[in-house]
């Protein structure tokens, strides 16, 4: 089996981390394992990071160890997405259309 190459995946919404972090947290561990095994770095825009770290500590998003994920290297924080970029705008439009 060949080793996958380093790559990045953009996560434009905090919903993925929240869904993975709810309750027993096994999905979050699986997400981390998936990222490290496949040498993928998840890139989150600043607002996603702020939403997660700004949540009260008693809630799921407030307990997601996003800072330790950043320290471990499988998550990194970027500048905000440029929605005037046609590729980004197209992906976001398709995602919203899929969700609706």
């Amino acid at each position: 089996m060949s080793t996958p190459s380093d790559s990045t995946a953009w996560i434009a919404d905090s919903g993925l981390f929240i869904a993975c972090g709810r309750q027993e947290n096994t999905k979050y561990t699986a997400l981390e394992r998936f990222a490290t095994h496949n040498q993928i770095t998840f890139v989150v825009p600043q607002h996603v990071y702020e939403e997660l770290t700004g949540a009260p500590a008693q809630s799921t998003p407030g307990q997601i160890p996003i800072d330790s994920a950043i320290t471990s290297g499988w998550v990194t924080v970027s500048e905000e997405l440029d929605y005037t970029n046609s590729t980004i705008a197209t992906v976001m439009d398709r995602t919203q259309s899929y969700l609706s």
Partner: protein, 194 residues
């Protein structure tokens, strides 16, 4: 006349019963468990809810006394059935119909940190409102982010609450006979805007 008095008594007693259950997540959880199962015995409740038998005896007794459970004593092993709840409150034209779906949401606050957080921080009314938005979210008529904003919750908290309520809605849609009477959040928003 006596019939009218009986109806008034019944209405007030039911109001108090529902209020009692809304304050006690353990009772709420037991009530909706039996509603979903149709019939349950002390043994099945003890095993499925992983609750001490003594507690199950006490709680089923309480719910029977509140008129929310019926105990069938015709067989050696007693069985319990749940009476579906439908309670409509009307305050100066603002109405909300409490149904077993809200009771289920309350029951889950005992082991769901996000639902517990909402009730602790904002009160039961916020949870009830969130249920109405969760119906739209689960039906694909509103995104979780828009619903979180309408509920005036911190975005990440709102999303987590809607994720929690998605499971409630999916479970109760087939078990709550009054599910269709849950207030529609769109109506609520329209009333607020008018």
């Amino acid at each position: 006349m006596s019939q009218a008095i009986g109806a008034s008594e019944r209405a007030i007693n039911r109001l108090l019963s529902v209020a009692h259950v809304l304050e006690e997540p353990r009772l709420a959880r037991l009530y909706t468990y039996i509603l979903r199962e149709d019939k349950a015995t002390i043994d099945t409740i003890t095993a499925d809810l992983e609750t001490p038998r003594t507690t199950v005896y006490a709680d089923t007794g309480t719910l029977v006394d509140l008129g929310l459970l019926t105990r069938d004593e015709s067989q050696k092993t007693h069985t319990y059935t749940a009476t579906p709840i439908r309670l409509t409150t009307n305050l100066d034209g603002d109405t909300y119909t409490i149904t077993p779906t809200l009771i289920e949401a309350v029951g889950r606050t005992s082991n769901d940190r996000d639902l517990a957080f909402v009730v602790e921080r904002y009160g039961l009314g916020k949870l009830a409102a969130a249920v109405t938005y969760a119906v739209l979210y689960v039906d694909g008529e509103m995104t979780e982010r828009v619903a979180a904003r309408e509920l005036d919750l911190q975005p990440a908290v709102g999303i987590a609450v809607l994720h929690a309520l998605r499971e409630v809605i999916q479970d109760m849609r087939t078990h709550d006979p009054y599910f269709d009477q849950i207030r529609n959040a769109r109506t609520e928003a329209a009333n607020r805007d008018s």
